[in-house]
């Protein structure tokens, strides 16, 4: 796996800070509650527990307390190391992990085309406890997308409800992923986002 780290651009960080303040004033604090309709399989539960252990070993009991004192470079290194262990634990075929300038809105992304996980480096530079914790959530979230894609490509490895796998397969069909900028509710409700959001919340909610 190649690792590409792009410099964090200070001007973009200011834009991110401003956006975070505005989002917070409208949307309140980031909700870590798990949707009652989320039903993790035994396979999911095992991974959730393993990931909690990884979060503990990398960040202790409090993610923000661990990251806030560090420089952005040190935070990057810690987050990269954490991500690499998640990739290994989930048995993912990730070819590129990229921390890069993604502007102000997005925190991360997964490319099924390039087998790449992307993290917005501008959020790493924020001295904001809630956002730094959400960055770890984002890493787990993107890795879960990669795992969903792996399960669709290797269905014999999937041990959950076949209807769930089918919903992911359809969602990964070319052109069938709903983008937030095109339909906010559609983005929120679609199968792969519902699962990734709740999978990550099941883990991060305890920190």
């Amino acid at each position: 796996m190649s690792l590409v780290v792009v410099a964090i651009i200070v001007a973009a960080v200011y834009g991110v800070q401003l956006l975070v303040q505005r989002l917070r004033s409208i949307g309140g604090i980031i909700d870590q509650e798990v949707d009652p309709n989320y039903k993790p399989s035994e396979q999911d539960k095992q991974l959730i527990d393993q990931t909690k252990d990884l979060v503990c070993s990398h960040f202790g009991g409090n993610i923000a307390d661990t990251l806030i004192p560090l420089t952005p470079q040190q935070r990057s290194e810690k987050l990269v190391s954490f991500t690499q262990e998640i990739i290994e634990t989930y048995n993912l075929e990730i070819e590129r992990l990229s921390i890069q300038d993604m502007g102000a809105g997005l925190k991360g992304g997964y490319s099924a085309v390039d087998n790449a996980i992307l993290i917005n480096g501008n959020y790493i530079a924020l001295d904001d406890a809630e956002e730094l914790k959400d960055l770890v959530d984002t890493i787990i979230h993107e890795c879960e997308h990669a795992r969903q894609h792996r399960m669709v490509e290797h269905p014999q490895e999937f041990q959950g409800d076949p209807a769930v796998l089918e919903s992911w397969r359809r969602n990964f069909e070319p052109g069938c992923y709903i983008h937030f900028e095109n339909d906010p509710q559609g983005y929120h409700d679609q199968a792969v986002e519902f699962d990734a959001r709740n999978f990550a919340a099941s883990i991060i909610g305890e920190f």
Binding site: G108, Y110, A112, F172, E173, G175, F180, N182, P184
Partner: protein, 130 residues
């Protein structure tokens, strides 16, 4: 008075904005056919006249201007978000802090249909204009 929007014209319009075929179908089926007031009138005005109507469009204390200027939402995105806010205010507000990523899937040639397709409802979309 009831206004009728022609389905294929509307779908073509959404695709011109960057929606995939699937996204355009879904947005028409699940959102535009069921738009709440006053978002429906604002959408129709923007669709027909390429600009928003006079006055402030506000839902649950959030204005269209806040979404487009402060949060850099595009017009269609802001209208759909306000529609969601009108229907599920608590869920939509919380979701704003969790709208954070994208998944890149392979692209499909324009001429190729998704492998699974539900029949399209191609009837005109009806909006009320009072």
């Amino acid at each position: 008075m009831i206004i009728f929007l022609q389905y294929f014209e509307l779908k073509k319009f959404l695709i011109s904005l960057g929606y995939s075929e699937f996204e355009a179908r879904e947005v028409i089926k699940k959102r535009i056919r069921k738009l709440s007031k006053p978002v429906d009138r604002a959408f129709y005005h923007w669709y027909k006249h390429s600009k928003m109507p006079e006055g402030t469009l506000e839902v649950d204390g959030i204005t269209f201007e806040t979404l487009t200027k402060d949060l850099s939402m595009m017009t269609m995105q802001a209208l759909l978000y306000l529609d969601w806010l009108a229907k599920e205010p608590e869920v939509a507000r919380k979701a704003l802090r969790k709208m954070k990523d994208y998944v890149q899937t392979a692209s499909r040639p324009d001429t190729e249909e998704p492998r699974f397709t539900e029949p399209e409802d191609t009837s005109d979309i009806q909006l009320e204009d009072k």
